[in-house]
C-alpha cells in the first residue's frame, strides 16, 4: 500500500435484500484511488455507482470485502466512529443540495464543525474562508431560499470543504442545474482539485460532466467495466 493511496477496496460487495429479491449493488469491486485524483464515476441508474459512493463515503458498510481509507479498515468501525471519519475526512455534495432551510448560508457551512471540538471563533473563520473559496462570502447571511440553485450548490461545496476534508464526494452535483451553472460548478471542482489538491470523486450519468475528471471509472450491474486515465490537453 503506497503512502499516497487514499482509498483502497478489496473485493468489495454490497448486497441488498428486498423481499425475496437479492440485489448485488456492488459486486467484487477492487479499486485504488490516490490522493489528489479527480475520479468521475459513470454509469446508468442501478449500476451501483451511488452505492459505491455511499460505501466510500462511510455512510454504508460493505457486505463483504474490505475498504481501507487512509489505511484504516472502515468496515470494522462502529456507527459513531464512522461519523467521526465522515466529519474529519469526507465532504459531501448532493444532488438535492440538502441544506438546512431555516439557517443561513454560513451556519450551513459551519454544520460539520458543530460536531467537532473547535471553538466558535475558529468555526466562523473557517466557514467564511470556505465561503470565500466558492465565491459567496457576501451572501453568508442569506437563507437557502434567498439563493439561486447555483449559489445553493456552492454553499454545499463550501460545507464539504470546511473541514479540510481529504475527499470530496459529489453525487450528481449538477443534476438540478442548467448548463451554464453546471459549467461554473464544474469549474469550481476543477479549481479545488488543481489548486487545493482535494481528491474528488464525482458520480454522474452525463458524459460531458464526467469529462471534467481526469480518471473515468465505468460501472454496470455492480461491476467496474472500465477504468481509464484521461490526459488533459
Amino acid at each position: 500500500m503506497h503512502t499516497d493511496t487514499l482509498i483502497e477496496t478489496h473485493n468489495l460487495s454490497r448486497i441488498y435484500r428486498l423481499g425475496d429479491n437479492i440485489i448485488n449493488a456492488l459486486d467484487d469491486i477492487s479499486i485504488s484511488i490516490k490522493k489528489g485524483e479527480f475520479v468521475s464515476v459513470m454509469g446508468p441508474s442501478g449500476s451501483g455507482k451511488s452505492t459505491f459512493m455511499n460505501v466510500v463515503g462511510c455512510l454504508d458498510k460493505p457486505t463483504a470485502g474490505a475498504y481501507y481509507l487512509e489505511g484504516v479498515n472502515v468496515g470494522r468501525l462502529t456507527r459513531d466512529e464512522l461519523s467521526s471519519i465522515r466529519n474529519e475526512k469526507i465532504g459531501f455534495v448532493f444532488q438535492g443540495f440538502n441544506l438546512l432551510s431555516r439557517t443561513t448560508a454560513i451556519e450551513n457551512v459551519e454544520l460539520p464543525l458543530l460536531y467537532n471540538s473547535i471553538n466558535a471563533r475558529q468555526k466562523r473563520d473557517r466557514a467564511r474562508e470556505a465561503l470565500k473559496i466558492v465565491g459567496l462570502d457576501d451572501r453568508r447571511d442569506h437563507h437557502p431560499n434567498q439563493l439561486s440553485v447555483g449559489q445553493q450548490q456552492r454553499v454545499t461545496i463550501a460545507r464539504a470543504i470546511v473541514n479540510d476534508a481529504s475527499i470530496l464526494l459529489a453525487d450528481e452535483p449538477t443534476g438540478n442545474l442548467d448548463t451554464k451553472t453546471s459549467a461554473e460548478i464544474m469549474k469550481l471542482f476543477v479549481e479545488l482539485n488543481t489548486q487545493s489538491h482535494i481528491t474528488i470523486i464525482l458520480v454522474t450519468h452525463e458524459s460531458d460532466i464526467a469529462a471534467y475528471g481526469r480518471r473515468l471509472v465505468g460501472f454496470l450491474d455492480g461491476k467496474i467495466i472500465s477504468d481509464e486515465v484521461v490526459e488533459k490537453t
Binding site: 455511499n54 463515503g57 455512510l59 454504508d60 456507527r79 459513531d80 461519523s83 467521526s84 465522515r86 466529519n87 474529519e88 459531501f92 448532493f94 438535492g96 440538502n98 441544506l99 438546512l100 431555516r102 439557517t103 454544520l111 460539520p112 458543530l114 460536531y115 467537532n116 471540538s117 460545507r159 473541514n163
Partner: protein
C-alpha cells in the same frame, strides 16, 4: 465532544420555527404543573391549618361529658344530665396514672356588664388546671389559685374578645364586671387563640372558679355537679390508656353494671384532630395524583409532537449524521428540545399554580404557602417529563439510516 450551548441554540430555533405548535404542546405541561403546584400548596396549607388547630386546642386532650337526659323519650344533648361531679374529677386525677391533669367545667351563657358596655358570652366555671390543659397563657394578670376555687371567690379571667368588647382600650385587670348582676373581680386576661376550624371565636369566653359558677351563676340540682371535664393525658401515646382508665374508674364510681350503658361520654379530641390531619394528607395525595395525571398527559403531548418533528425533519437528521453528528449529538438535540418545551411550560405553570393557590388560600382563609420546595419539585418534575417523553423520539431519530434519511421526501 458534544457541544451543549450550540445544541440548545439548535433546539430553540426549531421550537421558534413552529411557534403555535410549540406553545400548544407547552400548554399541556403548563396545566399539569400548575395543577400539581396548586394542589400541593393548597393541600399543605390545609394541613398546616389543622395542625395549628390541634396546637391551639391544647395537646393530648380528652373531654368527658355528663350523660344525656331523656325526658319522655326525647334525649337531650350530652352534658344535659349532670352525672359528673367535682369528686369524679378529683378521683380521675388521683387514680388514673395516664392522666396529667383534669379541669372540671360547669358552663353557661350570660350577659356581662361593665360600665355602659354589655356583652353576651360563654362563662366557664373551672379550676386553675384549665390553662395548663389547654396550653393557654395569660396576657396579663394572674390565674386562679386553689384558694379562689375553695372559697368560691368572685374572680374571673377574660378572653381577649370579651376584654375588647367590654373595656375597649382600658386595662381590665383589677376592674369589677357584673356577670348575671353578680360583681366579679377581673384578675387576668388570656392571650388570643383565634378561631377554630369551624369559625368559632375561642377568645369569646370568661373563666370563673367552678365553685363560684355553681353557686352564683348556674345553679345545680345536686351540689358539685359538672357538665364536662377536660383531661390532659401524660403524652400522646398514653391518650388511649387514659381513656380506658377514666372509663373504668367512672363506671366503678357510678356503679354501672356490666350490661348498662355509660352515663358519660369520653371524646378523644386529639385523635379526632389527628384523623382530620390524616384526611387532609390523603386529600393532598389524591389531588396531587390527579394533578400528576394531567402532567403525564402533557408529557405524552410532548412525545407526540417530538415524534412528528423527527419525521418532518428526517432529511435534516440525515444531513447532520452525514456531516458527522454522532448518536448522542442527535439524541441530545431532540431531548433538549423536549426539555426546553417542558421547562418553559413548567416555569409558566409554576407562576400560574402559585398565583392560583394564593387566590384560593385567600378565599378559603388558609395560610398561603409559597414553598421553594414545591417549585423545585415542579421544576424537577417538568424537566423529568421532558427527558422521559423526549427520549424515545430522540432515540428513534438517532437510529435513522443517513442514506434513507437523505432521500426522504
Amino acid at each position: 465532544m458534544i457541544n451543549i450551548p450550540v445544541t440548545i441554540k439548535i433546539a430553540l430555533r426549531a421550537l421558534k420555527a413552529n411557534k403555535m405548535r410549540s406553545s400548544l404542546t407547552m400548554l399541556g405541561i403548563v396545566i399539569g404543573v400548575a395543577a400539581v403546584i396548586a394542589m400541593l400548596a393548597i393541600g399543605s396549607a390545609a394541613r398546616q391549618r389543622v395542625s395549628e388547630e390541634i396546637a391551639s386546642m391544647g395537646s393530648n386532650l380528652l373531654i368527658v361529658f355528663s350523660g344525656a337526659t331523656s325526658s319522655s323519650g326525647a334525649r337531650m344533648g350530652a352534658g344535659s344530665d349532670p352525672t359528673l361531679s367535682l369528686l369524679d374529677a378529683k378521683a380521675i386525677k388521683k387514680e388514673c396514672p395516664s392522666v396529667l391533669d383534669v379541669a372540671p367545667v360547669h358552663s353557661g351563657t350570660a350577659q356581662v356588664i361593665y360600665g355602659n358596655q354589655n356583652w353576651s358570652t360563654v362563662i366557664m366555671g373551672t379550676t386553675s388546671s384549665i390553662l395548663k390543659i389547654r396550653d393557654w397563657q395569660l396576657a396579663s394578670g394572674r390565674p386562679f389559685t386553689a384558694q379562689d376555687v375553695r372559697h368560691a371567690n368572685k374572680a374571673c379571667i377574660l378572653g381577649k374578645t370579651v376584654a375588647e368588647q367590654l373595656f375597649g382600650s382600658l386595662y381590665p385587670v383589677g376592674k369589677i364586671i357584673r356577670i348575671k348582676k353578680v360583681p366579679f373581680n377581673v384578675i387576668g386576661i388570656l392571650k388570643s387563640k383565634g378561631q377554630t376550624m369551624m369559625g368559632q371565636d375561642q377568645d369569646d369566653i370568661i373563666y370563673v372558679p367552678i365553685t363560684t359558677g355553681q353557686k352564683r351563676l348556674f345553679g345545680t340540682s345536686i351540689p358539685g355537679m359538672v357538665r364536662f371535664m377536660m383531661v390532659k393525658a401524660v403524652s400522646l401515646d398514653e391518650l388511649e390508656n387514659a381513656e380506658m382508665q377514666i372509663n373504668e374508674l367512672l363506671r366503678q364510681r357510678h356503679r354501672i353494671g356490666p350490661n348498662q350503658e355509660n352515663d358519660f361520654t369520653i371524646r378523644n379530641l386529639t385523635q379526632m384532630m389527628q384523623t382530620a390531619a390524616n384526611l387532609a394528607r390523603i386529600m393532598t395525595l389524591l389531588l396531587g395524583a390527579i394533578a400528576s395525571i394531567s402532567l403525564l398527559v402533557g408529557g405524552i403531548g410532548i412525545m407526540n409532537i417530538m415524534l412528528v418533528s423527527v419525521t418532518e425533519r428526517t432529511r435534516e437528521i440525515g444531513i447532520r449524521i452525514a456531516v458527522g453528528a454522532k448518536t448522542w449529538d442527535i439524541r441530545l438535540q431532540f431531548i433538549i428540545e423536549a426539555v426546553t418545551l417542558s421547562l418553559i411550560g413548567g416555569f409558566i405553570g409554576i407562576l400560574i399554580g402559585e398565583t392560583g393557590s394564593i387566590v384560593v388560600s385567600r378565599f378559603a382563609n388558609l395560610p398561603v404557602i409559597v414553598s421553594p420546595l414545591f417549585i423545585a419539585i415542579a421544576f424537577g418534575f417538568s424537566a423529568g417529563v421532558g427527558v422521559f417523553f423526549g427520549f424515545y423520539p430522540a432515540y428513534k431519530a438517532s437510529l435513522l439510516n443517513p442514506i434513507d434519511a437523505l432521500r426522504y421526501e
